[in-house]
Symmetry: C2
Subunit: 346 residues, 2 copies
């Protein structure tokens, strides 16, 4: 059996769902991944203009997906219900699930992971936090052998696009929001982004991965970035910094005390956070044994989210075939053009 042979159903054909579908049917689609079902309430309308494929079924009925031969369900519906119900039903039907849904994972992650484990299936959610920045793997897996003590991060690409635009142009928040909308970095209503609700859900997920804590995202204090003015940026600049929305979580293992918040914060000029421009995300992870790990990457947009989703689908496909998670090496390598960087080497 091909280690990457996997039938995929997508729930929800919006920005992210359609980006995943394009990748799965495009010229460089990952080998062995086959898009077999697209579920959307407006499937009839949305399927128009999409290339017909004999193996692809558009449907408005979730039970058709659940009863299908799809191996993996990719959930890009958003919102808590009915998305959480559909994830439960997919796991119960013996399918692995890949989701971008931070709200479902933040609130129901523990129960859904338990269900997935009982079913012998996987639930993966790299796309729920940090867009294409692989922080879920870094925190939950790559640093599993350390004791993480603190995570400070920019986790909302929309707010970062707005604040970095205000910094560079001196414009008002309203103008920066309009600019972010025009570039596709903001929804019509960026309230949950600016208010910190989106980042709080993501921070809750990171607290589960990093500290083993179950944190209701509603209990994480937030301060809105919606009231930031150009004068605030002037003030920050005079103090050698700029303003970013930070999500902060620090855990004192000795006293079992968590400090967590999301707020617009003055960050020093030259720091990894001040350098995050546009919809970038960035994180500094501190741990007991290896100091600080930093990671940055595109935090918003359908393409970046689709990368995280496809990486999770590939991980599921590899696991299904009991293949180790390292890639197959090809023998058709040709070193045609090896050279020094003549212009830069010293």
């Amino acid at each position: 059996m091909n280690p990457l042979r996997c039938r995929i159903a997508i729930l929800g054909f919006g920005t992210v769902g359609s980006a995943v579908a394009r990748r799965l049917t495009g010229p460089h689609a990952p080998l062995g991944l086959e898009l077999t079902h697209i579920f959307d309430r407006r499937a009839h309308e949305k399927s128009e203009g999409w290339p017909a494929a004999s193996r692809l079924t558009w449907t408005t009925r979730i039970d058709e997906v659940l009863a299908s031969d799809a191996d993996v369900v990719v959930e890009t519906v958003g919102g808590i219900e009915p998305a959480a119900d559909w994830i439960r039903a997919a796991l119960a039907a013996g399918k692995s699930v890949v989701t971008a849904n931070k709200h479902v994972v933040a609130r129901h992650g523990a129960a859904l992971l338990t269900l997935a484990e009982r079913q012998g299936r996987q639930l993966r959610f790299e796309a729920a936090v940090g867009g294409a920045m692989p922080i879920v793997r870094a925190v939950g897996d790559g640093l599993a052998g350390d004791r993480i003590t603190r995570i400070v991060a920019i986790l909302n690409g929309t707010t970062n696009a707005v604040l970095s635009r205000m910094e560079v142009t001196g414009c008002s928040l309203g103008d920066a929001v309009d600019d972010a909308r025009a570039r596709g970095y903001a929804e019509a209503d960026p309230g949950v982004d600016l208010d910190g609700v989106d980042a709080a859900a993501k921070l809750s997920i990171l607290c589960a991965l990093a500290f083993g804590l179950r944190v209701d995202p509603d209990t994480i204090p937030t301060r809105t970035a919606a009231s930031i003015t150009p004068a605030d940026f002037d003030h920050a600049r005079r103090n050698g910094g700029t303003i970013r929305q930070l999500a902060h979580a620090e855990y004192d293992h000795a006293t079992s005390t968590l400090t967590a918040w999301v707020a617009p914060t003055v960050v020093p000029r030259g720091s990894i956070f001040s350098r995050a421009m546009g919809p970038q995300n960035a994180a500094v992870i501190s741990s007991a044994h290896c100091g600080e790990i930093t990671i940055t990457g595109a935090g918003a947009g359908g393409d970046a989210t689709a990368v995280a989703i496809l990486s999770d689908v590939i991980a599921v496909a590899r696991d299904r075939a009991a293949i180790v998670p390292a890639p197959v090496l090809h023998a058709n390598f040709q070193l045609l053009n090896s050279e020094f960087a003549v212009a830069e080497a010293v």
Copy 2:
């Protein structure tokens, strides 16, 4: 069965092996991981002063490890032979293997992965590249759903400690090497570090993960950093930069052309590379669909390497029990101390 129940044998009790042993027997040892065997040619001598434990066997005989009930063999011997032979033998004996050995993985990774797959066991090597910086997972797993086009990275902590020391103090390379030795960042002979041989082996591993290429590390052109002088730094400084040893790999998918090299390079002031001080590693990964991902972290030292090894051991332990690779969430959370960053919030 406890999802993290795993018996561990360590091959080689040097800097890294002893760091792993200390973590496994220390006060915050990961639950369920049990150190059962330590193999070292000087086991009798090295076991003195180590706390006696009823379940821990010190041995000078590799066959005793192979015939034991250890689930995972951690290889920290270094060098190609006999380390590669022992990894083969461990896989053949039905054990999973976690290795920090970049030279073995760069030269024999494909064959060893095939063997591991046939045996239904895992071969993991996060510690072989980038120390505690989880770049193996980021490239091989987290970005598997993208098409990586380029990796530019600082992959040798020793050389970075030497060059960043020269930059800051204006000292000679010899003095900087002495300083790195005194701080434990350099071996007695840092030749393979400065010459780029170490970084070339790591770059070869990343080429396999990122591009699916099998690249003999000996074919990667290198230029030594051993001849860098304070005058070179002055020159770089006048041009707005500083000097770092970079490993560079760029793959043109359309023409199947790889450009790869390791060389001391002028990097712009303020760049992620110029900001890497001491034994830090840093990488910029460019891809077709999500732009640039950056990652930094401690690149040298027994503790950082032990984190990468233990993270791999935990991944094996989770997989053995068919548990999804996400953590168990605890219910004993107390939000005792939630607060805004009063001093910094605006």
